[in-house]
Symmetry: C2
Subunit: 339 residues, 2 copies
């Protein structure tokens, strides 16, 4: 499978490392062999080589700050135009792993369109294009007979979307409800252990969970982006952020947490989607709810369906190799379905 990566940050690099480290295992277990023929970044260069790029060399170049550190070899093209490469390259799949932008999802959305129109499978870690234009992209993919997969966008490599769409395909899902932001769950967990909100947030920032500007996490917006994706992928809805009820954890106090604890309950920032709408808000849930024991940066989701009642999946929701794994699993699914 010949791959083009758009974006080469933590997720793209994590994926490339897995591909390098697991080459033999994947060939043996699944007769799966993948070559990265192109890597394009917004500000750190772009490379294309029809015979394939060396992963170790790519990782070394980006570690030095720019893909231009990749040494010259015959046939290598530098600073290629992304759209041109997407259209013309001999590649089977495009992996969009640039940062998510929920305003217009650009330039990623346009790259996604070009990739599908050029007959390539499309795999995303970037949430923007799915949150804003799932239906358009899915229609394009179907027209082209290509696959659109985006497991990484919800709970990283924990296969929340595959479970809902393939694992329990015969069940009709009525609701999805989950802990879909690790940073806020980490903060709430630390507050349960006695920390004040500000201290827990500072610790999350020190650990790299939360950004310097933590609004997207603590305000519930990152989780809301995932609600948009669940609405599209499970309920055929194309909500906008403004359609959602979104409330963050900024106003939860140690006192709130203590009061809940006395009643055997816990505060969690829950992201919810039903066919009727979506919301993100802090909720007090009983300690026997499978979501209640989800600790630290771990994520979880409960699907409620006609045949199975509640099915809950708990696992990592972020991380270099954890998100890279989602891209690999999507490619393996593409191969299973006969490319």
């Amino acid at each position: 499978m010949r791959l083009i990566l758009i974006g080469f940050g933590v997720v793209g690099q994590g994926f490339a490392e897995i591909l390098r480290d697991k080459a033999d295992e994947l060939a043996q277990r699944y007769s799966f062999k993948a070559t990265i023929v192109g890597v394009a970044t917004r500000s750190r260069g772009a490379l294309y080589h029809p015979a394939g790029l060396k992963i170790d060399t790519l990782l070394k170049a980006i570690a030095q700050g720019h893909l231009n550190h990749y040494p010259n070899t015959t046939g290598l093209k530098r600073d290629v135009d992304i759209a041109a490469i997407l259209e013309q390259a001999d590649a089977d799949a495009v992996l969009e792993c640039a940062y998510s932008n929920f305003d217009d999802a650009q330039p990623a959305l346009e790259y996604c369109r070009t990739a599908l129109r050029s007959g390539k499978h499309l795999v995303l870690a970037n949430k923007g294009p799915i949150a804003l234009a799932y239906h358009e992209l899915q229609t394009l993919a179907r027209e082209q007979g290509r696959q659109l997969r985006f497991e990484a966008t919800v709970m990283a490599g924990t296969p929340a979307l595959q479970l809902a769409r393939e694992g329990i395909a015969g069940s009709h899902i009525n609701a999805a409800r989950g802990i879909l932001n690790g940073t806020t769950n980490y903060i709430l967990t630390q507050m349960e252990r006695g920390m004040a909100y500000e201290e827990a947030l500072a610790q999350a920032q020190a650990l790299g969970y939360a950004e310097a500007d933590p609004t997207a996490d603590v305000g519930g917006w990152d989780a809301a982006g995932k609600v948009l994706i669940l609405g599209a992928a499970l309920f055929n809805q194309q909500w906008k952020m403004a359609d959602l009820q979104v409330e963050g954890i900024e106003h939860i106090t140690r006192k709130d947490i203590e009061v809940a604890h006395e009643k055997g309950e816990r505060w969690k920032l829950l992201a919810e989607a039903t066919p009727e709408g979506g919301k993100v808000r802090p909720v007090r849930i009983p300690q026997y709810d499978p979501l209640a024991t989800v600790q630290g940066a771990t994520n979880a989701i409960t699907y409620t369906s006609d045949l199975l009642g509640h099915v809950t999946l708990v696992g990592p929701g972020a991380g270099r190799k954890e998100t890279g794994a989602a891209l690999l699993d999507d490619l393996l699914a593409i191969q299973r379905y006969g490319e």
Copy 2:
């Protein structure tokens, strides 16, 4: 998709009901259409009609005690020889839903061989043939270019096998550890609430969770059958019951449960499989383990893997429609993979 059912007890009937009730939904969502052309039971008759059997009529006949109550129609064959039908019928898939037998898995195992040799996909709810002869059947399926699926055998319609084998296909699983028997978990849960073992067992029997002879459940043997299946499906092992360390919950007392409770721990009957071996035994686990909050007859499994660490799936492990759902999900997967 033309189907033959072997066994028409709770699981087979549950599946047939789903197929009837969801015919329109499945046609619309997946262009999936299935017809039951044959049903064979050990002691309640066997029917075959190349044009298809009516599900409502089948259910009425079996409710009256015997498939012979199915009315005469042109082309209907009664008391057909199962092996002959498996060989000669024009069918796409065989669903083996007879009761599990871990001694020699017969006569189901022989039917499974015949079904695959005759070029039919094979879906099982019956644990015996997978526990005892997975590799033989998988090899046969591969030779014939047919699929062998058995989601129902572990956690009913909660897709524990699909998650491990497809959802996180790119990860290398090192260990599986779960609550795979609902009866014993129900008993332990009731004991935590103050019941004595004998009382909780009697209640489980009254509710239909436990058999009159509860040995298979409380002695850990039902869970052990699932460990054999996990060993085969995940680790390429073909263990026998005698290879496993199996200990039941008969000796757990209220006192044990209280002592654990004081330390913030809970007793659970855990089924474990690693490449090195399998076991079933009561274990005290900390209350923050996602398996610790699994209540009543619910099941759960945690997979530990190289890329994702711990991923836990919680859901129903038994039930008429819950197990029927697994058969449907397997058929939908067969269709997705291009039959």
